[in-house]
């Protein structure tokens, strides 16, 4: 695999931007800690999603200025957030009722591996150390759409979209769509269905960088994101 992706792959911000375009106005959304949090910045004009953070806050405001933090008001990543008109606080059992009970429209997560069956591995590299799962295994169940943001391949060039996950699973058959640095891919009936790809890569090269079978949708769109993100 000697395909040079440097000039054609999307940045994390561009991947987050693309995912944000699919969030409906008024959707209830949980963004995973880290990279997926960027999605909140790129909501289309006129769209206003309501964000849930699993430690017990709905519809929170932006991060406070340094020095203005109130450490009773944090998100699941333990970063300071703020309230705004509409904010609600609730306890953990209510928070995870929102998650498992099907009340969220979208959950957007990171991934180590996604299988063509929709299995997700994103909590453990299986290498020992201290295991930590947090809410990852809960968040993959219950949201109407479970989307993953990820580079298409690992830093060593190995596919992250695979026929079967080799790392410890977070959930079985849970992922519905994957936004990668090269493509937008749905998981349907046990196969990867290619919806969009960056213009700079051929279908055969994209297939060679994908571990599972990549089926073309009837129309494969160009994945074009703003350059200046």
């Amino acid at each position: 695999m000697s395909i040079d992706l440097t000039d054609i792959q999307l940045s994390n911000a561009q991947i987050a931007w693309r995912a944000a375009q699919d969030i409906e106005d008024g959707a209830y959304v949980n963004l995973g800690i880290g990279f997926p949090e960027m999605v909140a910045r790129f909501q289309p004009k006129g769209h206003e999603a309501i964000f849930h953070t699993e430690n017990g806050v709905l519809d929170f405001g932006r991060a406070p200025e340094p020095g203005q933090e109130d450490w009773d008001c944090i998100n699941a990543g333990k970063k300071a957030i703020t309230t705004r008109p509409g904010t609600a606080f609730f306890h953990h059992a209510d928070s995870f009722a929102m998650v498992r009970g099907g009340h969220l429209d979208v959950a957007i997560l990171g991934a180590y591996q996604v299988a063509q069956t929709g299995d997700l591995a994103n909590w453990s590299t299986g290498k020992g150390g201290v295991p930590a799962v947090g809410g990852a295994m809960d968040l993959v169940h219950g949201a109407k759409r479970v989307a993953v943001l990820t580079d298409h391949v690992t830093k060593k060039g190995q596919p992250k979209l695979v026929d079967k996950c080799t790392l410890p699973l977070t959930g079985v058959g849970c992922v519905t769509r994957v936004y990668t640095s090269l493509a937008v891919i749905d998981v349907e009936d046990g196969v990867f269905v290619l919806r969009e790809k960056v213009p700079g890569i051929s279908l055969s090269d994209l297939q060679s960088l994908t571990g599972g079978e990549l089926k073309e949708a009837s129309k494969v769109g160009d994945l074009i994101c703003p350059e200046d993100l």
Partner: protein, 235 residues
């Protein structure tokens, strides 16, 4: 009826060696730092601690672990900005860990407080955290059986308490506190303010006093995050 006790030391005096103790909080928010430090001073050991995390820095739960008092942690995310105290002991085999998905941890505590011995959840199905647990199919989907979680004591942090133990919480510091209040044989609460009966609007009560055994006032409680930024160490 007045559940107020005069001191932190009195509030935790009867926690025995080997007790299972739920401690409220998510990271530092809602963590009853003063009650945890009183437990350190009190000396109980071989404790099983139930919390979302496993301590951060050298205060609160991390300090309890560092003093060698904790035999086992039941938690979802034993990592933090500075998790060294737990990490070193876990990797040396000096502390046991039961890792529980966060929502399952919350629901097991809720079930414990509600008299529900077991329930089914989709969470963890097909993963290593479901190994050995019964699985049932409902409406075509597989679910994992989980058991209730109860404790001998709960140490919690509230914003306001009245003498009957009715409680309010502050912002996201609510987190696990109302659940744990229901699931311990003895629930001990530190509150920033103890107000007279009638001082809390009944519509605003989050935890009704029936779940609470002792309250102690700690005005201006410490925040774990601020203690860690100041590199505090307890004791």
């Amino acid at each position: 009826m007045d559940k107020t006790v005069a001191s932190l030391a009195e509030a935790v005096a009867d926690i025995p060696d080997g007790a299972t103790v739920m401690i409220g909080g998510f990271g530092g928010s809602g963590a009853p730092i003063e009650l945890i430090h009183a437990l350190i001073d009190q000396g109980a050991k071989d404790l099983t601690i139930i919390n979302n995390n496993a301590g951060n820095g050298h205060v609160g739960i991390a300090a309890l672990i560092e003093q060698g008092r904790v035999a086992k942690m039941i938690c979802s995310f034993p990592r933090s900005a500075d998790p060294r105290v737990f990490t070193e002991r876990y990797l040396d085999g000096r502390i046991a860990l039961e890792l529980v998905p966060q929502g399952t941890l919350a629901e097991r505590i809720r079930a414990g407080g509600a008299g529900i011995p077991a329930f089914y959840t989709p969470t963890s199905y097909g993963t290593e955290l479901a190994e050995g647990k019964p699985v049932e199919t409902f409406e075509g989907r597989p679910y994992v059986q989980e058991r209730w979680l109860k404790a001998d004591f709960a140490l919690l942090k509230a914003e306001e308490a009245d003498p009957h133990g009715n409680l309010t919480y502050r912002m996201a510091a609510r987190n696990f506190n109302p659940l744990m209040a229901t699931a311990a044989a003895t629930t001990v609460v530190q509150a920033s303010r103890i107000v007279p009966l009638g001082g809390i609007d009944p519509e605003q009560v989050i935890t009704p006093g029936i779940f609470v055994n002792r309250i102690v006032q700690v005005a201006n409680p410490a925040q774990e995050e601020e203690l860690n930024r100041a590199e505090a160490v307890y004791p």
